[in-house]
């Protein structure tokens, strides 16, 4: 009987010259691999979205049973042509969304909730979060991701970028 070899599972890295990424109808992205496998409705996911957002980008599609399947991983999107890189960047923009906090106008505590009034990259926003440690996640060692009651994400990339008063106000409540 032929001895069967058990393969060690490995990440499939997609070589830039072996793939073709293109925009199809209705803004969807299709990917052709090795000129013979076409994947439609592809979306991109970063393996290290905080520490290395443009490297190790995985491309996924949904198979006929609606299951997410990984086509493979791009080691560095800078290795792609400009046009393909832009498409992957757009796919990443579609995958990740957050409000970046630039300044804090006020934080008030009431009914077990913190009520924030902040300036973000998308304008002034008011939101509320449950005052629990699990609702403020660490971000790159010097910032925080705050999850509001609807699970919307507010990223403060660097606490030290706030003014002294804002830092004091922020750390008075978000000290975890």
């Amino acid at each position: 009987m032929e001895e069967e070899k058990i393969e060690k599972p490995e990440v499939v890295f997609l070589k830039p010259d072996k793939i073709k990424i293109f925009r199809a109808t209705f803004g969807t992205i299709h990917v052709m691999v090795d000129n013979n496998s076409l994947y439609r409705g592809v979306f991109a996911v970063a393996a290290f979205p905080v520490s290395n957002p443009t490297k190790y980008i995985s491309l996924f599609y949904y198979d006929e049973r609606d299951r997410e399947q990984e086509i493979g991983m791009l080691e560095d999107i800078d290795d792609l042509t400009e046009q393909q890189r832009d498409l992957v960047k757009q796919a990443l923009t579609r995958q990740y969304f957050s409000f970046e906090i630039l300044a804090i106008n006020s934080i008030k505590f009431a009914y077990g909730l913190l009520f924030f009034d902040v300036e973000t990259d998308k304008g002034t926003r008011q939101f509320s979060m449950r005052w629990e440690g699990s609702r403020a996640l660490d971000y790159a060692g010097k910032g925080k991701i705050i999850l509001d009651i609807f699970e919307d994400r507010y990223v403060l990339k660097d606490i030290s970028s706030l003014s002294r008063t804002e830092q004091e106000l922020f750390l008075r409540y978000i000290y975890w």
Partner: protein
């Protein structure tokens, strides 16, 4: 502008619709999204007519979209990180129609329900789509801690306080006695300075009534003694009332929690509920004690002393009031500053406890991976944080106390100066009166300062009350129907009819599943982790209600069956059987506390656990600790089987009952299960497919659907998913055998 059902469509959007030949009267459904595809905040309209779905941007960088509903196979929501999409399956892949923040996921999940109804030609409603999010109060819009929780703003202090007073009702007679005693205590507090005045004016300075000296001293001693006695009685009574209320509340809470559905526990962590039982309930105890011995007493004291001060000398009394705003403001300001510091301190303390608990429990792992130095550094950081937080609190307290003492003394100094001048001016204000006045002044500021803190403890008490009443007011999601059908003996016929269900209603786990199980049959359910196997079991037990379709037992919809009858007749053996603190006998007879010793012994024998139990020094009386620690996984599992066997349920569910034990234990468990499965409907979820060879039927669950079904042999012949799983396990077993 066109306004149908509340949402006004702007003219610019109406114009775009008109260009596409759509009139506002054609619109059956409409709502808005808040992002364009590039993540810019925008207003994007989604419309549905009888035949089409349209996406029209009011603002934002997005193209218009239009699809015939007949082209769309289905709609769904795809969650990305921080936002989500409404997708439509057109041809053989999904197209993103519109993007929105997570705050609108609820709205779009309801839109999908309405779109499906529209496609079926059924009536639809915009109101259903645009209903307020369950995480907000439908009355005032305040965000809530959990879905459909009681709104703390709408149930503000007034009603809460009434509810608290209502809790006092059974102890009202004691409350009245406490109030009366408090009045007497305040009167006794006011007596010593007055006696001092008489002592100074009538005995010591004028020597008019030297013989009064002894009686005044006796009266002072009697007043102090009486006050001490009354305070003891008041303290005992308030503590007793507080303890009794705490007892009542804990009982009510536990009874309520036992009645709540499983989905409630999905939203609440055990730690949070433990806090309700410990610190929040304890806050009630604190409230009664504070109210009795602090708040009310202080209020009466301030009133009584105030009256005495004005009675003695109204002009001087105004001088006493000068530092009052400073005392009140200083206390309030200080506590607002220091209050969050305490949170940080408590948080640092609990972080260190959690860390120690984790690291000391996992010390073998730490040592095995040689991570001692890393853990020491982590501990140092936490200990440092605790030190800083502790220091900060204590430094602030150390600054505050002398400052308040100074403010109190200024009042006394003012009285000394102004009062001294009055006495020297011989206006009739005597030295004795001044001494009494000074005594009252000294007694006046301390309760005032405590009253300034009242808002803090009232607000923390009200917060705790809200959290407790929130549980007490929660209605179980799964209630028995008013005329629930009693089924004292279930036969065991199970039928799923087009069942769709998801723990998150936006993401179905079970999708349009239909199957039937005849009574007395052994049915296996297999599939990958996360495929929906355990969810099927949860629906049979009615831990959750289906979102679409129905589950029938003996031909009756389980939503109509009395949940007591249903669950009493379903035996559940889980992968990790949950053993309670108590004896082995108590654990076996958990579902039937009335079982005789003989029945317990027979159940244990049949479950293959009798022999190991008899080897224990205390046999069936062996006390198990939490989670049954002290006995092996296989032994725990067999106790779990004995428990199920003793109940003799017509439906038995085995959820990975043998997957976490070694091969030898598995053999013993399997033998026990063979006995257990006889003459009852058995549903066995198993990873180890070899255990299902004898099943009458096997369902292969894949991605929430029944992908294959048949006997072991039929499924092998199909050469589908089951065949691949069997082949994979055969390979693994042969490798294990070789290695072994």
């Amino acid at each position: 502008m066109s306004d149908t059902d509340g949402l006004s469509i702007p003219d610019s959007v109406l114009e775009k619709l008109n260009k596409r030949g759509i009139k506002s009267s054609d619109i059956r459904l409409k709502t808005t999204a808040d992002l364009d595809f590039y993540g810019n905040p925008s207003v994007i309209w989604v419309f549905a007519t009888e035949t089409k779905i349209l996406v029209i941007p009011e603002t934002g960088l997005q193209e218009e979209l239009e699809f015939e509903l007949s082209r769309i196979k289905r709609f769904r929501i795809r969650a990305s990180v921080g936002s989500a999409y409404l997708q439509a399956r057109v041809d053989d892949f999904f197209i993103e129609l519109v993007r929105f923040t997570n705050a609108l996921r609820y709205r779009f999940s309801r839109l999908i329900v309405q779109l499906d109804l529209l496609r079926q030609g059924k009536p639809v409603s915009d109101e259903y789509i645009n209903e307020p999010h369950p995480m907000t109060c439908p009355v005032c819009g305040l965000p809530l801690q959990t879905e459909k929780a009681t709104c703390p703003r709408c149930a503000r202090q007034g009603p809460i306080m009434f509810r608290v007073l209502y809790l006092l009702e059974p102890y009202l007679h004691w409350v009245i006695i406490v109030l009366l005693l408090m009045f007497i205590s305040v009167a006794l507090n006011l007596l010593p300075p007055k006696l001092t005045q008489i002592l100074v004016d009538e005995v010591l300075t004028t020597r008019r009534h030297v013989d009064w000296l002894v009686w005044i001293v006796v009266a002072l001693v009697a007043a102090e003694l009486m006050r001490a006695l009354i305070n003891m009685v008041v303290g005992t009574l308030t503590t007793s009332i507080g303890t009794l209320i705490t007892f009542d509340l804990r009982k009510k809470l536990f009874t309520k929690l036992q009645g709540l559905s499983v989905d409630y526990y999905d939203q609440q962590s055990v730690g949070t509920l433990m806090t309700r039982f410990s610190s929040d309930v304890e806050a009630f105890h604190g409230f009664i004690t504070q109210a009795g011995q602090g708040f009310l007493l202080n209020m009466f004291l301030i009133a009584g002393i105030g009256i005495m001060l004005f009675f003695l000398n109204a002009r001087l009394a105004f001088f006493v009031l000068i530092p009052v705003p400073l005392v009140l403001f200083g206390t309030y300001f200080f506590w607002n500053k220091i209050y969050p510091m305490y949170f940080k301190f408590w948080d640092s303390q609990s972080k260190i406890s959690r860390f120690l608990n984790t690291v000391l429990s996992g010390i073998k792992v730490v040592k095995a991976f040689a991570q001692e130095d890393k853990e020491i550094k982590r501990f140092e950081k936490m200990a440092n944080d605790l030190k800083d937080a502790n220091r900060r609190v204590n430094i602030n307290v150390a600054k505050f106390n002398p400052l308040m003492a100074f403010l109190f003394s200024t009042g006394g100094l003012i009285v000394w100066y102004a009062g001294g001048k009055t006495v020297l001016a011989n206006t009739g204000f005597t030295l004795g009166q001044l001494m009494a006045f000074l005594s009252y002044t000294g007694m006046f500021y301390a309760p005032l300062s405590q009253m300034a803190l009242m808002s803090n403890w009232v607000s923390s008490f009200v917060t705790a009350s809200h959290r407790i009443f929130e549980i007490l007011d929660t209605e179980p999601q799964l209630k028995d129907a008013p005329n629930a059908i009693r089924m004292p003996r279930i036969e065991g016929h199970i039928r799923f009819e087009h069942v769709t269900f998801g723990y998150d209603p936006y993401q179905p786990i079970i999708k349009d599943v239909s199957f039937e199980i005849e009574p007395g049959r052994l049915v296996g359910i297999v599939g990958k982790s996360g495929s929906g196997k355990t969810t099927l079991v949860n629906l049979i037990c009615r831990f959750y209600d289906v979102q679409e379709g129905a589950v029938y037992i003996d031909g009756k919809d389980i939503r109509d069956i009395s949940s007591y009858d249903l669950r009493r007749q379903i035996g559940l053996v889980l992968q990790e059987p949950f053993l309670f603190r108590g004896s082995i006998a108590e654990n076996i007879s958990y579902g039937r506390p009335d079982a005789s010793f003989k029945e317990i012994l027979n159940a244990a024998k049949a479950a293959n656990c009798h022999d190991f139990i008899m080897k224990l020094p205390n046999g069936y009386d062996t006390q198990l600790r939490e989670h049954g620690s002290g006995i092996s996984g296989g032994e725990k599992q067999r106790i779990g089987i004995a428990r199920a066997l003793l109940c003799d349920p017509p439906i038995l569910i085995l959820d990975e009952a043998t997957s976490s034990v070694d091969t030898e234990s598995e053999k013993k468990i399997q033998d026990a299960l063979d006995v257990l499965c006889r003459n009852r409907t058995t549903i066995a979820i198993a990873h180890r497919l070899s255990t299902l060879r004898g099943a009458d039927k096997i369902f292969v669950v894949d991605n929430g659907r029944i992908a294959e079904s048949g006997t072991h042999k039929e499924l092998l012949d199909m050469k589908g998913i089951y065949y691949r799983l069997v082949m994979m396990q055969t390979k693994l077993t042969s490798i294990e055998t070789e290695v072994g």
